[in-house]
């Protein structure tokens, strides 16, 4: 078996989510090749070559791949992917954007968001916002799948010594163009990789209160900050902080849900956390049904007290 893993990166650093995909690839078994498609991405290829379990790195370095435009990268993946038994990518917005396009170019069905490898052709994935787990078998010649990072422990960033091979193939569809991006800067750990996540919902009341109440708690715990869809829609925090079926999927050691009722949509994004704490004034809140510990009270007094005592 030969597996092609699509590296996720920003042309400088290999994104940690790629390490979880390599872990899933190891469960399938076989030779693992990592494709780095980017512009000025030599450093990323070198990092990928160090990753444990990787036997080869392909570097496609061209301006056409600078911003991970799906039209160009998917064409490259489909071209290179023909010789592999599996093509895997991260379940991030980048992976979700590119991989289905590559699968259709190869005329194969794709499996989204796998959480377990049963065999080389059989996988588990959540459906209905995580309320059911489907075991799916692919009868395609090439298995194409995205991998839910939180379901696989990342492989080590060192220990590998793969050769880096340049790919000269340039796919430029010329039908799309990068215009601009607005990346939210944060000193906190990345949400999907954090050990502790502190999330706020509609109950925090306002954007100002979100920061007044939750920032000190996140600071003290070295936690990433998340939010429910209600808090994002109300404009308290930017959308990239949304945890849920339609936002990010997290599975930290500790998830603290503050002022979050616990709609199905939100639970889909966090119910695999090891320990869940809910702080809510509503005793009947659905979040309490998945929480390990819940405290009924006013978050404006409870959270500062918690900060002072940990």
């Amino acid at each position: 078996m030969s597996i092609l893993v699509i590296a996720e990166h920003d042309n400088k650093t290999l994104n940690g989510a790629t390490l979880n995909v390599v872990a899933a690839a190891q469960k399938i078994g076989g030779d693992i090749t990592v494709l780095v498609a980017g512009s000025g991405a030599q450093a990323v290829a070198e990092q990928a070559a160090q990753v444990a379990g990787v036997s080869k790195v392909l570097l496609a370095d061209n301006a056409a791949y600078a911003n991970q435009l799906a039209e160009n990268v998917a064409a490259l993946v489909a071209e290179l992917g023909k010789g592999y038994s599996h093509i895997l990518a991260t379940s991030t917005t980048t992976g979700k954007n590119i991989l289905p396009r590559a699968a259709a170019l190869l005329d194969v069905s794709m499996i989204s968001d796998i959480i377990a490898v049963e065999s080389a052709k059989t996988f588990k994935r959540p459906i209905y916002a995580g309320n059911a787990i489907a075991t799916v078998q692919s009868d395609e010649a090439i298995v194409v799948a995205t991998v839910r990072g939180t379901a696989f422990d990342p492989v080590a960033t060192t220990g590998g010594s793969a050769a880096v091979e340049a790919v000269s193939d340039v796919q430029d569809a010329g039908i799309s163009k990068f215009v601009s991006e607005e990346i939210v800067k944060s000193e906190r750990p990345e949400l999907t990789a954090a050990r502790i996540v502190v999330s706020g919902g509609r109950g925090v009341g306002s954007g100002e209160n979100y920061h007044t109440v939750l920032d000190p708690l996140a600071d003290k715990l070295g936690a990433a900050q998340g939010a429910s869809r209600a808090a994002v829609d109300a404009g308290f925090v930017p959308n990239d902080m949304q945890v849920g079926q339609t936002g990010k999927i997290v599975a930290p050691d500790l998830y603290i849900a503050v002022g979050i009722s616990g709609a199905i949509q939100h639970l889909a994004g966090m119910k695999d956390s090891k320990v869940i704490v809910a702080i809510n004034k509503d005793e009947e809140a659905p979040i309490n049904a998945v929480a390990d510990y819940w405290l009924v009270g006013d978050l404006n007094t409870v959270v500062p007290e918690l900060v002072s005592k940990i």
């Binding site: 794709m110 009868d139 215009v179 119910k271 918690l306």
Partner: protein, 249 residues
């Protein structure tokens, strides 16, 4: 320009689904069905573009059982002009859906093709991207802002780090994210009018698509249950539990 919108009939977003005891799937008998929330946003966006004068005609298409006519009619009540139902009772995969849509696009020749970013039942998030590949068209996935400038479309996309804006040639595929717009409610007179709008019924074979999917669902299980938690009475008790029992801080 012409807009084509694809909508899917799915279990209502507020329903907590149950897995069938024989693990063959999810029990959908007597469960409330609705238009997929992301598809509703796609319809709303097309209607807004029509109200601005950018779009002249909106064609809404659904692939599924006879009952999916309800979702086409409700899209018409929101402002779509006519509908196409590709009727099938088979469980059909994303690739096959994209192939049928490709056939419809080739007949209808829309400049804008709007879809939801994912259906809340299979959670695949694939069809728009696959359709882009089959048509050789550009894709603006997870759109939160759509601006049409002549024969180009600028799409602001919700990506993991924040937002990214791309410019696409038409015909372009747009898949909607939740923050693109807030769908309106259909007024009763519009619901009455929608009943008279044209709706064609087709079959997958009309578009040369026969296979249902090469992904076989072996079984469907409920997720692992979390063990019941406890209510703590004070912050002190919570801190004590987190430190000594859960050992996470």
């Amino acid at each position: 320009m012409k807009a084509l919108v694809a909508v899917k009939r799915v279990v209502d977003a507020n329903v907590k689904v149950r897995v069938k005891p024989d693990n063959s799937g999810v029990d959908l008998t007597n469960v409330k069905m609705s238009i997929n929330p992301f598809c509703e946003i796609a319809v709303e966006e097309a209607v807004r573009l029509k109200e601005k004068g950018t779009v002249s005609e909106i064609v809404v298409v659904s692939i599924g059982p006879k009952e999916a006519q309800e979702q086409i009619r409700s899209s018409m009540a929101l402002g779509a002009d006519r509908g196409i139902l590709v009727e099938t009772t088979d469980e059909i995969g994303a690739l096959e859906v994209a192939k049928i849509l490709k056939g419809i696009v080739e007949q209808e020749k829309p400049e804008l093709i709007l879809l939801g970013k994912q259906a809340i039942d299979d959670d695949s998030n694939q069809v728009g991207q696959m359709l882009g590949a089959l048509l050789g068209a550009g894709q603006g996935t997870f759109a939160s802002v759509v601006t049409v400038n002549g024969d180009k479309v600028q799409v602001t996309r919700e990506v993991d780090g924040g937002l990214q804006t791309v410019e696409l040639n038409t015909p372009a595929i747009i898949t909607t994210d939740l923050r693109l717009n807030e769908p309106r409610y259909a007024a009763l007179p519009n619901i009455m009018k929608a009943r008279k709008k044209p709706l064609d019924v087709k079959s997958p074979a009309d578009y040369g698509v026969s296979a249902t999917t090469k992904l076989k669902t072996v079984k469907v299980e409920p997720p692992a249950e979390r063990k019941a938690g406890v209510q703590v009475k004070s912050v002190d008790e919570l801190v004590e539990k987190l430190k000594n029992e859960a050992k996470v801080i």
